[in-house]
Symmetry: C2
């Protein structure tokens, strides 16, 4: 079973407006909301693919109830750890641009963090995915206390650096996140730095230029067949879902990278984060180019 | 007692960001939320002034509970009419600009509207304030079925036009709203049209240029002493609060207009809609200029 962990879960709200104009009043045309946070998006994509997955997240308050109702309605198996604080909301404003407003999230106490850890280890995951920012209040070692076995860490900044100590199987920064933690402009050199710091394999998402994997068995670059326009929120999470499935199946890196690029593109075609266009994924995975780098 | 009615109430959420940039991801620095909607803001201002007021609003769902909790915490007396739909949210994004994102709101059924009407009439208000947009699903005659006695109607478009049939004591459009319903550019001519259509007195809010009142006893123009920068959300509601109090006290129009302009300016200095800077109001009401027009 794949287990995803989202310690700073969110209720994702999507507003549709004609065009977002700072300083003006907007009539919101449609409001959609669903359980979100990066790990939950990963679980949603894996559930859509028919994979045995469990989402672990912290929830609290009225927004936490809405979060839990939505997961149940979607049929995504979950273990939710109650916290005293109220679950945050993230708002995506879709118009002629995609604009995100992310609330910081509630504090998670040491005792709540310990419960989260016990919940994760209690699931005995085949592949563990730890995603997103760390909530305020959680211990300094952060994700390192959760990671073990086959694992993917998808976070940024200090949470990424602290997590490397647990030697995650894969980390998946995007280019900005990679440059931020290494100070290096070149993706391959920066990825090599992260490997030296503890990551076994580094997968870098390069936006429209696809993905780069730097692994113990080699380096590959995969590019999509077409550059898509759409809602990029959740594209990285779809890539993580493909990587988790690839680790579970013991696939080769060129094969994992191909699926990650195709599933990421299929997520750009989805209306909301966590949605993927499955027929597109099935076509695109045959069309992605993968080259040793 | 002054009674305010807000049929399309909202939980007002205020996000603080560094600067709102369409197409980008924003970390929200602070999240504040409170019961809102124009009539609730009017009630909040009157409650701050120590006036006997009651807020009537429709509420539903989890957001409705948060709304009701906030009114109780603020000590604002209220009669809340439960509806099946979920209370909407309006989001104000404060940065270098003030940007509003208003959800459309839930449908209010005919039976729910009838309960709202009975609740309003059951309060036997001395002054009745009907504020804001009408929710989807409510009867065509809209506010006209609620208005009686001394009354203020603060709405726009079709809801304003339909409400005029009940001959409200005061309507308070802003210049854009007035032009929209009359098709006339000149404020005084347009206000006279609204009086012919049923309004006894028309008060037009002119933003930084103050306010114009066209009444059976004359026409006056009032201007603030200084143009303030701040959060303009709720300035119109503060003006309505001053007008309601003036009607209750049987004040003269020059006196009502003076207080309306000063209280409106005091609201621009308030952090959130419904907040007023009382010391500023007390100073400013002596400094407002009022001229017969």
């Amino acid at each position: 079973m794949i287990v995803t962990v989202t310690p700073n879960a969110a209720l994702d709200v999507t507003y549709t407006v004609d065009s977002l104009k700072p300083g003006e009043t907007h009539r919101v045309r449609s409001v959609r909301q669903r359980a979100g946070g990066k790990g939950v998006n990963v679980a949603r994509v894996l559930h859509t693919l028919g994979v045995d997955v469990r989402a672990i997240a912290t929830i609290g308050g009225r927004t936490g109830h809405a979060f839990s109702d939505d997961l149940a309605a979607a049929g995504i198996p979950a273990k939710l750890v109650p916290i005293a604080g109220e679950t945050r909301r993230t708002t995506t404003v879709l118009g002629d641009t995609t604009t995100l407003l992310n609330e910081p999230g509630p504090e998670v106490t040491e005792a709540e963090w310990a419960t989260l850890g016990r919940t994760v280890h209690g699931q005995a995951p085949d592949v563990l995915v730890c995603s997103g920012s760390l909530p305020p209040g959680c211990p300094q070692e952060g994700y390192a206390s959760l990671l073990s076995g086959l694992s993917i860490l998808d976070t940024s900044g200090d949470a990424l650096l602290a997590g490397l100590k647990a030697k995650p199987t894969v980390v998946k920064p995007n280019l900005d996140e990679l440059r931020e933690v290494t100070g290096l402009a070149d993706a391959e050199s920066a990825a090599t730095e992260l490997r030296k710091a503890g990551a076994v394999t580094v997968v870098v998402s390069l936006g429209k230029d696809g993905m780069l994997a730097v692994s113990p068995s080699g380096t590959w670059h995969a590019t999509p067949s077409t550059v898509l326009t759409g809602n990029p929120t959740g594209a990285g999470d779809a890539a993580v879902a493909a990587i988790a499935l690839g680790l579970l199946r013991r696939d080769s890196w060129p094969c994992i990278l191909r699926d990650a690029v195709a599933l990421s593109a299929a997520a750009v075609r989805g209306a909301l984060a966590g949605d993927v266009d499955l027929p597109y994924f099935r076509r695109e995975r045959d069309l992605v180019s993968v080259h040793p780098s």
